[in-house]
Structure formats: C-alpha cells, structure tokens
C-alpha cells in the first residue's frame, strides 16, 4: 500500500445532512415526557396566574404572553425537535422567517389600527353605536 492510496476525501464517517443517529424508542418517549411535563407546568401556570393575583393587574397580559411563548418554545424543542444543531439549520431559518412574518402581521396591524383609533375625531356616543352596529339602528331618511 503506497502513500498514493491515501484519499483525503475518504473520511469514513461521513453522513447525510440531517441524518439522525438511530435512536431507541425509549429516547423518544423520554423526550416527549419531558416536553409534556414542562408544557403542563406552563399551562397550569397561565391558567391560575389571573386567579392568584400575584401579578399586578395591568401587567397580566404581558405575563400571559411570556408564558405562552415559553410553552411554544417547549413544543418546538421537545415535540417538533427543532434544535440548534447543524443538521437543523434549514428548519431554524424557515422558522425565523415564519416568526418574522407573524410579528410583522400581528404587531403591524395592532400598531396601525391603534394609531388610526388615536387620531380619529371624537364622536358622540349615538354616532359610535350607529357606526358599530348598523343593523341595530337602520338609517331612516328624515321626514320633513
């Protein structure tokens, strides 16, 4: 065997991108159980948080949103197996794009509509009900 036989390209332990090592069923069950436990804690937390009164009232929505985002993270990691490994780069990039679109849509809509609401001229209450529920107050032409 001469030196020429050495092929630097032959690493011997190459693997296809994203190919997971074979995992036993026990590993999967363990993974899902951890996810279920964490998700249960976060769900119970968000349901009893308003009743407990531990959080200052006006900040309650923020606390609930934080718990929800944490739970979505738990779902992504333990149920959907999105990780930071090199075999997951494509999945994470697609997720990042999706999160960007969701953020633009939701935050943008709320921002623009709140802004329009802010600049709207104040109206008398009867005009407001007229605007919101046209069916309830049918327009009758004034009879002269």
């Amino acid at each position: 065997m001469s030196e020429l036989d050495y092929d630097p390209h032959d690493l011997g332990h190459d693997h296809a991108p994203g190919d997971e090592p074979a995992e036993s069923a026990g590993h999967w069950v363990m993974n899902y159980s951890i996810g279920l436990a964490l998700a249960t804690i976060l769900t119970v937390g968000s349901f009893i948080l308003p009743a407990l009164g531990l959080v200052w009232g006006p900040s309650l929505p923020v606390a609930l949103i934080v718990l929800a985002i944490a739970q979505m993270g738990v779902h992504l990691v333990f149920f959907l197996h999105i990780t930071t490994g090199p075999d997951n780069t494509n999945n994470v990039l697609a997720l990042a794009f999706g999160v960007m679109m969701v953020g633009l849509l939701v935050i943008g809509s709320i921002w623009i509509m709140a802004n329009m609401h802010h600049y709207m001229a104040p109206m008398p209450p009867e005009a407001m009900t007229h605007m919101q529920a046209p069916a309830a107050a049918p327009t009758v032409p004034p009879a002269f």
Binding site: L11, G12, A16, A25, Y32, A68, M72, G98, S109, Q132
Partner: protein, 230 residues
C-alpha cells in the same frame, strides 16, 4: 496495487467548474465526498426533504393564522353593545380542552416513536387515543359554540364575535381535518404496514398535530385568558 490514475482532462474541467463539488459525488455514486462545509454534499434523503417541505407548509399555515389573530386583536373591543368575552368565556371548559389537546399531542408523539420502531399494535393504539382526545376537544368546542349561539352570541352580533368565531373556528376546522387524516393513516398502517411512504406520511401527520397544539397555546392565551382577565 493502486487504482489512482492521473486526472483526465474531463475531470480537471469538472473540478474547475465546480471546485467544491456541490451536489456531486467525486467518483460516482456511493463514493465518499468532501465538499463545502463539513464533508456533506449531495441531496438529502427523501425523508428529510419531505419533512422540510411539510415544515414550510406548516409555517405558511401559521402565517395565515397570524392574520386571523391580528384581526381578533384589533376587533377585540368592538362588541357593539353585545356580549363581551368576559361574560361568555368559561375557563374550566377551556382548561379541559387544553388538557385534551396537550395529551393528544403527547400521545401522537408516542405513536410516532412506535412507528419508528415499526411496532404496528402500539402505533395503532396510540393513534386511536390521539384521535379520541382530538374528538373530545372538538366536541367541547362545538358544544361551546352552540351555547354561545343560544345566548344570542352569533358571528353576526358584533365584530368581536365575527373575529372570535373565525379564529377559533379555523383552528377547529384544522383539528377536524387532522382527525380525518388520522383515520386515513390508521387504515394505511393496517393495510400497507410501515412502507416508506406511510412512514413519511406519519412524520407529516405528527408535525401537523404538534403545530395545531402550538396554535392552540397562542389561542387560549390571547383569546380566552386575556379576554377573561381584561
């Protein structure tokens, strides 16, 4: 005896055109390759491509849901003098619905683990439990809608209720479609066993069911918990 031969003109040209050999095997099919990155080149196997494609679909579905969420957030207070979320929502029912869907997602994961292990009996049992929990969720949701309608809270009543019924109803419709898919998958596992195609479909179904649970997390927080608290 060495089988290294001097590079042919053709091979030299190939290397010049594609120095990192992206997507190519150096010495024909099955040859070890070293390309750009970590020595991994060439197309991924079909399971990874199928999973990735379905992941893109799920993300686009989530973007669609976000439009409904945005509409709900904007119209949340436009009750037009009708019933408000605070008056309508029953949190114990929502808690049970959440429990059903979370457990269903967990059992669906177990069925996926059983299908990876090619165990037909446990795959079917876990899929059946997944479906029953999903059906229980759907029953509770429809029962809730009927109760709302009996109180006069129909989608026509106010912009808030229109947004509520379209957002929650859209999720419910996804769960219904998921149940139909689940029944189909159980029949396919029974009839075809764990062929490659069936394995791919089970992977996609698993992703779909977990994504529905993620959307439900956003939904019960934004619609029910924040609606009942404020």
């Amino acid at each position: 005896m060495s089988d290294i031969v001097p590079a042919s003109a053709e091979a030299v040209q190939r290397v010049r055109e594609d120095p990192h050999r992206l997507g190519h095997r150096a010495h024909g099919e099955g040859a070890p390759v070293m390309g750009a990155g970590h020595g991994e080149t060439g197309p991924a196997n079909s399971r990874i491509i199928v999973g990735y494609g379905f992941w893109i679909f799920l993300l686009s579905d989530i973007v669609m849901f976000s439009a409904f969420f945005a509409a709900y957030a904007v119209l949340m207070n436009a009750t037009a003098g009708g019933p408000t979320g605070r008056e309508l929502f029953e949190l114990p029912r929502v808690a049970i619905e959440t429990g059903c869907l979370l457990l269903s997602s967990f059992v669906c994961g177990l069925s996926f683990a059983a299908s990876v292990a090619k165990n037909r009996m446990w795959t079917q049992i876990f899929l059946l439990i997944t479906g029953l929990l999903g059906a229980a969720f759907l029953y509770l949701e429809i029962d809730e809608f009927i109760g709302f309608a009996a109180q006069g809270a129909t989608p026509q009543r106010s912009a808030f209720l229109s947004a509520f019924f379209s957002l929650v109803g859209l999720h419910g419709a996804h769960v219904f479609v998921g149940l139909l898919w689940l029944g189909t998958m159980m029949a396919q596992v029974q009839a075809k066993g764990f062929s490659r195609m069936v394995q791919h479909r089970l992977l996609c179904f698993n992703l779909f069911w977990h994504a529905l649970d993620i959307i439900w997390v956003a939904l019960f927080t934004v619609v029910y918990l924040m609606g009942a608290a404020t």
